[in-house]
């Protein structure tokens, strides 16, 4: 674990920020991104910040140099958006934006890190998916398709890279209190959750801690659910 380096996209707020803080606390080095890195309200000797818009090819190209110098052992694909509306009202722009930010970005970011991991014969690729990708959710055809895509991507890549000791998994949170769910969470939702509360970013971050560690060596190609029991297969 010591001296391992993690890249976290969308690390300035919400779940991403929770992941960054807990990785730093565990002693990891972290390269965290935001679309505007002046947005970060944290600093730490082991934390490096960078600008990145995962949808913008020029931004990704500029970021490539930073990543190859940093040479991360761990990638956390966290950046994501929702653009909810009933399918009948959904525009193709809403569809494209969500697929591009949540799914295409995972392709782009993984491309940037995988060669370095192959050389080290060690790597962890973790993408933040959603239970919406497995259970479906009205108003989220775009979002659930993007997250199901992330889960399936992870399974195929896990098979490709398994022989090189690189594990690929996704994490599917339920309702977590962040800007994304602001205004969506009410008592009705809480009642449907067996553990009777919405999650906080630490609930997701502690699963990330486990998945990046040596403790999870034998787990790959999985979608791990952290949702208080809301979605059970």
């Amino acid at each position: 674990m010591k001296n391992k380096k993690a890249l976290v996209t969308g690390g300035n707020r919400g779940i991403g920020k929770g992941i960054v803080l807990s990785l730093l606390e565990q002693g990891y080095f972290v390269l965290a991104t935001s679309r505007d890195s002046t947005n970060f309200d944290m600093s730490h000797p082991n934390l490096k910040l960078a600008n990145l818009d995962v949808c913008d090819h020029a931004s990704v190209a500029a970021f490539q140099k930073i990543v190859s110098d940093y040479d991360p052992d761990i990638l956390i694909n966290n950046a994501g958006v929702t653009k909810d509306s009933l399918f009948l009202r959904m525009t193709e722009d809403d569809w494209d934006e969500v697929i591009n930010t949540n799914l295409n970005s995972v392709f782009r970011m993984t491309k940037l890190v995988v060669k370095g991991m192959l050389k080290k014969k060690w790597g962890r690729i973790i993408s933040i998916s959603s239970i919406s990708g497995s259970m479906g959710n009205p108003g989220q055809t775009n979002y659930s398709a993007s997250k199901a895509g992330v889960d399936a991507f992870s399974r195929s890549l896990a098979k490709e890279l398994g022989s090189r000791n690189i594990t690929v998994n996704s994490i599917a949170p339920g309702f977590i209190q962040t800007d994304m769910t602001d205004g969506l969470i009410d008592e009705d939702i809480t009642k449907k959750i067996p553990l009777q509360r919405v999650g906080n970013v630490e609930d997701v971050a502690s699963l990330v801690n486990f998945l990046v560690s040596e403790e999870s060596n034998y787990i790959t190609g999985q979608t791990l659910v952290v949702d208080g029991g809301l979605f059970m297969k």
């Binding site: 060669k115 192959l118 490709e160 890279l161 022989s163 090189r164």
Partner: protein, 77 residues
Amino acid sequence: MSEVLDKVVEIVCNQLSVNKEDVTPDSSFVEDLGADSLDTVELVMAFEEEFGLEIPDDEAENITTIKSAVDWIEKNS
């Protein structure tokens, strides 16, 4: 032996964990040296890095033996 051949053999031995003595110019990475499909991609990456070249995907497909690697590299460097 040419310098390129030396280097290619060294890279292949490293990547595939085989002994120099078991490698001839005609050795096929997959059939003779036990490479899997990911190994062949990694080999091409290692050649690119060592020789500072970019090997296009459709040409990389034809680099399947020590000799074909050496020939491509000598022709393109």
